[in-house]
């Protein structure tokens, strides 16, 4: 299964870094779509088949938590796995992540950490990931 992934982050540089990390992660990738805030993210989700959302928290217009709440409220999108990618931390964020059934990865992260989190929340098998992998391990992280 090739994953169609939506990356939601107000930083164009961070979105580019995540794309680059995904491309070397060895995960089976389909389309990689991008949005600069939660509102844009919801519009893309409404028009495309999305297998996974990677979302920042602090964004203008609509933040990551608000976007995930909207995703969970809609029966058409409630099933979509979401991984929060943030430099923030703390108990309140952990509680929100758990309440929304999302995963969490702290910036900066390595390609292995990102791949492992995605495998965990999407159910893509390790075997599928490694079959697609040209990734050789250490020495490269974000």
């Amino acid at each position: 299964m090739a994953l169609n992934i939506l990356i939601v982050d107000d930083s164009a540089v961070m979105r580019a870094m995540i794309v680059k990390t995904l491309q070397i992660s060895g995960l089976p990738l389909g389309e990689l779509l991008q949005a600069a805030n939660g509102q844009e993210g919801l519009e893309i989700i409404s028009k495309n088949w999305i297998d996974l959302v990677l979302a920042d928290i602090n964004m203008p217009e609509m933040n990551g938590i608000q976007m995930i709440e909207r995703i969970r409220e809609d029966s058409n999108t409630a099933h979509i796995p979401v991984l929060i990618v943030s430099s923030s931390s703390g108990q309140a964020l952990s509680d929100a992540v758990q309440r929304l059934g999302a995963g969490f990865i702290h910036k900066p992260f390595t390609p292995e950490q990102l791949r492992n989190q995605i495998i965990q929340i999407t159910g893509v098998s390790d075997e599928q990931a490694y079959t697609n992998s040209s990734f050789s391990g250490g020495g490269f992280d974000f």
Binding site: D10, V13, M14, A16, K20, S87, G90
Partner: protein, 155 residues
């Protein structure tokens, strides 16, 4: 300055420039790095049990290299993307250092990074300076400062 936070800030700044920018900061600077002209400045304010701000200033021509490395490009990206890249660096360092200020599980919110003039050094009115790190990078340098406006740090 607070020695515990100073050490944590130094480690956070070095690892962030290494892991996100593929640059190798040094704690000892040469004459050329010390004389490099101001290039850019970004501040991230944080709010929680302690309120304050983290500022990252760069000197020399670091941003084109930093941004190209972060984005995996061969050529220097636009000035806007360069500011964006420095903002992300500041955001990640700030997200890391706030966990050292009070209890590790304390809740902090970070504002979006704000770009200021290249030579915008903070003054006394900008809070008390708790930690400052200067690192040599390529032909330039970076100065990272943590200031507290309100609240009490953990001992």
């Amino acid at each position: 300055m607070n020695k515990r936070i100073q050490t944590a800030l130094s480690q956070a700044a070095v690892s962030t420039f290494e892991s996100m920018g593929f640059l190798l900061p040094t704690r000892e600077l040469d004459e050329r790095q010390l004389k490099a002209p101001a290039e850019a400045s970004v501040t991230v304010a944080f709010h929680g049990p302690v309120h304050g701000a983290l500022q990252v200033r760069t000197f020399g021509r670091l941003l084109p290299v930093l941004t190209a490395n972060m984005m995996g490009l061969m050529e220097a990206p636009s000035a806007q993307l360069q500011q964006d890249a420095l903002g992300e660096i500041a955001n990640v360092i700030c997200g890391h250092i706030v966990t050292f200020l009070t209890e590790p599980d304390a809740v902090y919110s970070l504002d979006s990074p704000k770009v200021s003039g290249p030579a915008a050094a903070p003054g006394k009115e900008d809070g008390s300076l708790e930690a400052q790190v200067q690192l040599g990078i390529e032909d330039g340098r970076t100065v990272v400062e943590l200031r507290i406006f309100e609240g009490t740090l953990a001992p």
